[in-house]
Symmetry: C2
Subunit: 345 residues, 2 copies
Amino acid sequence: MAALAAVSVGTASKALNGRGSMRPETRQRVREAAERLGFRASAAARSLQAGRTYTVGMITTDSIGRFSIPVMLGAEDSLGAGRMSVFLCDGRDDPIREQYYLDTLLSRRVDGIIVTGRRAQPRPPVRANLPVPVVYAFISSTDPDDCSVLVDEADGATKAVEHLLAIGRRRIAHVSGPEHHQSAATRCTTAAGRLAGAGLEFAAPPMFGEWSEAWGRHAAGTLLANGHDFDAVFCGSDQIARGVADGLRAAGRRVPDDVALVGFDNWDVMAMACQPPLTSVDMDLEGVGRAAADMLLAAINGQPAPGRHYRPCRLVARESTAVTVRPAPGTAPAPPDRLAAQPRT
Amino acid sequence: MAALAAVSVGTASKALNGRGSMRPETRQRVREAAERLGFRASAAARSLQAGRTYTVGMITTDSIGRFSIPVMLGAEDSLGAGRMSVFLCDGRDDPIREQYYLDTLLSRRVDGIIVTGRRAQPRPPVRANLPVPVVYAFISSTDPDDCSVLVDEADGATKAVEHLLAIGRRRIAHVSGPEHHQSAATRCTTAAGRLAGAGLEFAAPPMFGEWSEAWGRHAAGTLLANGHDFDAVFCGSDQIARGVADGLRAAGRRVPDDVALVGFDNWDVMAMACQPPLTSVDMDLEGVGRAAADMLLAAINGQPAPGRHYRPCRLVARESTAVTVRPAPGTAPAPPDRLAAQPRT
DNA sequence: TTGAAAGCGCTAACAC
DNA sequence: GTGTTAGCGCTTTCAA
């Protein structure tokens, strides 16, 4: 390639990288030769001498799933803009596999590592004394000094409750996932606290179960069967909320007229397919990924930001809470979903 | 590191790679020194001299989505086992971005490239005359000589229809996605053909719409309103099927007793949350990814397998078709979902 | 059995 | 303005 343009390799390098000063015509000639040959500088050779690979590793501790994907996409987005390439590593919930990936990444001399996963529960650091910066995204490390970018779930729960209060609901129930699950606990406690701040409490004891529609349906049935008087349900997930919606409708309750509903996750396909479309708390997982990537880049450039960083949630209002003032009984608004076969009403 | 073990770099290299012959004690000494120092050979240096990076690129032509993810995971799985690392590139439906990624991958000297995406529709080759092997996974290239691993959707449709026939249904309707969408067309045509083979035809003209629950609900309503006589619906997707299920139930039809339902995709969360749980066609996307990775590895090793390779589907039977012999009217089996609030029946 | 040296492809420092 | 050279970290060949 240098030969084709009849210059030395050094000159060719400078020409292609816009470094040094040289006759414009030479630069042009080199560029054309490179173009003609489809020449592309070898990243390996380059990083060998630069001591930097412009490469980062992304490890999921558990399998890649619904939550880690948006995080990864956000990170990839931010990283790609900075011309960094991303190594994908699916930990598959297997510590051995995880450590193997870590070794691989280290021998590939990645400039940094992003660790992500499914649950908010803190996990032990991926390894002590790593020679490169690590940022935890969505999950956190048990070491509070490790850099992690987290969702402020308390903020999400607060916004959910405040939204329900704002549309005039006062008798709010809560249906969520497993009680021992940190997200369920945080959301419940925070919601209760916010209610207390308004001089209220849950309209029924909070109900814990699975993160599934089936559980939501079941819980709705139980709430009704136990004769609780409630005009809203704050649900721990969109799937649960959707189950609750179906359960309520099957029992003849109208959403949002009789009972308003707020979910959590803002999982588009769930929230939109719900009847009626579901108001939900969005954790902005892509934003989490992007923020994590930005912090990693900063750390790589010598500006680390140790500690836990919480990001706010955003409430996305849809028709499951679309009542500003409670209508007089009997004044039911038109059903929202034009395409839907009419529910029995 | 060589210094710590008091050997030359050449010896150290041999010791660590198990190459050459040497005093076992020396080998041991080197290994311990390496261990102590956390030494890991630089992949960059290694591939510089080997001319091979043990790295492949994975590009999605459109955004990374529900279909490409399992494909990617399957590929990553197969590749990881072969100690290859994977570069993740999200094309975001942007040709510029895609070409940029391609350049990056090429300059990183990946050993091969996997291209994947959302739709079955063939796409133009990602670039002509690439210096490394390329395998298309789930999508195919318009050039029939390019290696692509594809889902045999006709097989899936056939299995769906045969399953319905096997449980004694004869009046089968079809509700699917957009008519111009290749998957919708293939599935419909094949199903019609298989019915014809049994001397039957669709119980109603096939209905095309969106890949959404709302459309499914709507279509169910229309089918009923038009007075069609049908005892099964083969749906183009799980979401549509779920909408149909809801639409039928809202109109008082029982699934599977009155109408059996088969979906497509076997999207667990949809299929399981459906009432009743949905029988569906599984495209084994992870298998597609694994197969693509295996073919890429073979091509890298000089054994290319040009052309389109189709993989069969698998039917996953659940309760939406759980009737072997049609029960006498009135002999309704117990509702399947113990957790669910009872639908009105 | 071990060491020395060349060379993979590139960039940066320096000489011409 | 351009060419030469050293050296990034490794493997491999060949000599000792």
